[in-house]
């Protein structure tokens, strides 16, 4: 079995990775739309 410390570490890792990957998703989604807006304004 995992120790309580290992389990806490896992939970923290899951939260952190989920947050980082979700931010990447949002960056790509809005990034491309913003890129098109900037391109269209020239």
């Amino acid at each position: 079995m995992l120790t309580p410390q290992q389990q806490a570490q896992r939970r923290k890792g899951v939260r952190r990775t989920t947050l980082v990957v979700s931010l990447i998703v949002l960056a790509f989604y809005f990034g491309f739309i913003v890129m098109m807006l900037v391109r269209g304004s020239h």
Binding site: L2, T18, V21, L26, F28, Y29, I33, M36, G40
Partner: protein, 538 residues
């Protein structure tokens, strides 16, 4: 064949407890095996739905002239066939296999985000009900091709918002699935399961998940912009308002080319598991395989414009994208040579998973060669929008992705259900698939080289003979696929029980340390170092 193992972990016996029953088990499923099963069943239904569209397409093309459907319906059929097969059949099948296999291959008790997992599955049926019901609205289903190029796609009637919303939902489902895979692999590996001890299937899925995270939002962004062009008066892709329709193609293929690898990389993983198992040898060049997969994924981001050589790109761009595309042959070649080297002097046997993996190896390589031909700019100017392209991508996606899925299912099915399938029928399934796949698609190379355009319901009489051959191959291939669900159903109902933990004597990896069938809750106690080391003998 079966080799009893003495180190079946101790908690197996009580792991069958706490299994929910009835409809709640499936609607509120959070168990990775249940969700994996639902993905695989959904994918199978979509495979036959998309296959039915293909049968009508091939029936219409059986001889010149219009026989069964008008040109508009034909265009809807090709569009829906592409969308259903890519987003409904191939991708969910891989997510299903990922759900089933990743936790038990890395020694994790489940996926890291089980409720998100439930949501990402249950979005899919609604997305496809919406997409498929577009056949019923005025103007019928989308008919602008699965690539959804404006301005054509912007001109649809009621089916347009249905298409856009369905694509958004499929995208959200894929993104949530990918986030779950990344988070699971990065955080839930058993102690001792280092990155370079992970099975190749897990590695290829990790890289695939990163691809999904990077490119699905781009597709979502592109279709959102199309939606605002259609309903809110923007002009992202509307030339009359100062927009640029070709920009849509750039954005679409920035998603679309990695998407090809999203469908293929997990197949590389399956083949990298199956070939060593049936060669009774460790995989040749494990680390090279990992780096080759990562290289292919990286290169897939810088080759998108090879899908649009004829739109009028500058010469420097043509040269760059041609050379970058040809560069992909290097890591792909590393893989093909490593699989071949794995078999070299191995103790080979040819059970159905191995047969499908070998067919993958030969036929995907043919698709790779025709891909190299298409990468040559001057040649592509001739091949563009001909049946040569259709032949090429079906060699990549059917004998590549679909055969990879079948190989994986035939390899792991005994572990999932604890029973062995009818080997004779599965071998028949393989030979009928392999033969009629080639009868179906190989003549399309000739048709394309002779100048037959794609996406047309009628054609000149000089193309009649090979179209008839291709259609006969198509009907036989389609019929032979009915064997697949029958073999699985028969296995689940009455297959011979698998003794011990290993269904195949050459199989390695943590999944083969679990009893068969794999318990409902597995690896609640992490695997021992000895188990991990045994599985990681690369």
């Amino acid at each position: 064949m079966a080799e009893p193992h003495t180190e079946v972990h101790a908690h197996a016996a009580h792991d069958h407890d706490h299994k929910p029953h009835g409809w709640r088990r499936w609607v509120f499923a959070t168990n990775h095996k249940d969700i994996g099963t639902m993905y695989l069943i959904f994918s199978c239904i979509m495979f036959f739905t998309g296959g039915a569209f293909a049968m009508v397409i091939r029936a219409e093309l059986f001889k010149p002239g219009l026989q069964l459907v008008d040109a508009g319906v034909f265009n809807s059929l090709t569009t829906m066939h592409g969308l259903v097969m890519i987003f409904g059949a191939i991708m969910p099948a891989w997510v299903g296999l990922a759900n089933w296999m990743i936790p038990i291959q890395i020694g994790a008790p489940d996926m890291a985000l089980p409720r998100l997992n439930n949501l990402s599955f249950w979005i899919l049926p609604f997305a496809f009900v919406l997409l498929l019901s577009s056949w019923l609205v005025p103007g019928s289903a989308p008919a602008g091709g699965w690539t959804m190029y404006p301005p054509l796609t912007l001109q649809f009637g009621s089916s347009f918002p249905m298409l856009i919303f369905a694509i958004h939902m499929m995208g959200i489902s894929s993104i949530l699935g990918a986030i779950n895979v990344v988070v699971t692999i990065m955080n839930l590996r058993a102690p001792g399961m280092t990155l370079l001890r992970m099975p190749l299937f897990v590695w290829t899925w990790l890289i695939t998940a990163y691809l999904l995270v990077a490119v699905m939002p781009v597709l979502a962004g592109a279709v959102t912009m199309m939606l605002t062009d259609h309903f809110f008066g923007t002009s992202f892709f509307n030339a009359a308002g100062g927009g640029d329709p070709v920009m849509f193609q750039h954005i679409f293929w920035f998603f679309g080319h990695p998407e090809v690898y999203i469908m293929i990389l997990p197949a590389f993983g399956v083949v990298s598991e199956v070939i060593p198992a049936f060669s009774r040898k460790p995989l040749f060049g494990y680390e090279a395989m990992v780096y080759a997969t990562a290289s292919i994924a990286f290169l897939s981001f810088i080759v998108w414009a090879h899908h649009m050589f004829t739109v009028g790109l500058p010469l420097s761009a043509l040269l760059f994208f041609m050379l970058a595309t040809m560069l992909i042959a290097v890591p792909t070649g590393v893989k093909v040579f490593n699989w071949t080297a794995t078999m070299w002097r191995g103790s080979l046997s040819f059970e159905p998973p191995m047969l499908f993996s070998l067919a993958f190896l030969f036929l995907f390589t043919i698709g790779g060669f025709s891909g190299l031909m298409l990468a040559l700019v001057p040649a592509d100017f001739q091949y563009q929008d001909t049946y040569f392209v259709v032949a090429h991508f079906h060699y990549v996606l059917v004998s590549g992705a679909a055969f990879g899925i079948m190989s994986g299912v035939y390899y792991w099915l005994p572990k999932w259900v604890g029973r062995m399938y009818d080997m004779r029928l599965a071998t028949w399934h393989f030979w009928l698939s392999a033969i009629f796949f080639n009868v179906l698609f190989f003549p399309q190379h000739f048709l394309g080289l002779a100048g037959m355009p794609r996406r047309i319901p009628d054609y000149a009489v000089q193309f009649a003979d090979w179209n008839m051959v291709s259609s006969i191959g198509g009907f036989a291939f389609g019929l032979s696929q009915l064997l697949f669900p029958y073999i699985i159903w028969k296995c689940v109902r009455s297959g011979q029980r698998v003794e011990g933990t290993r269904a195949w004597d050459g199989a390695r990896g943590l999944e083969w340390e679990l009893p068969s069938p794999a318990p409902y809750h597995s690896w609640t106690t992490p695997p021992t170092e000895a188990m991990i080391a045994r599985g990681a003998e690369h």
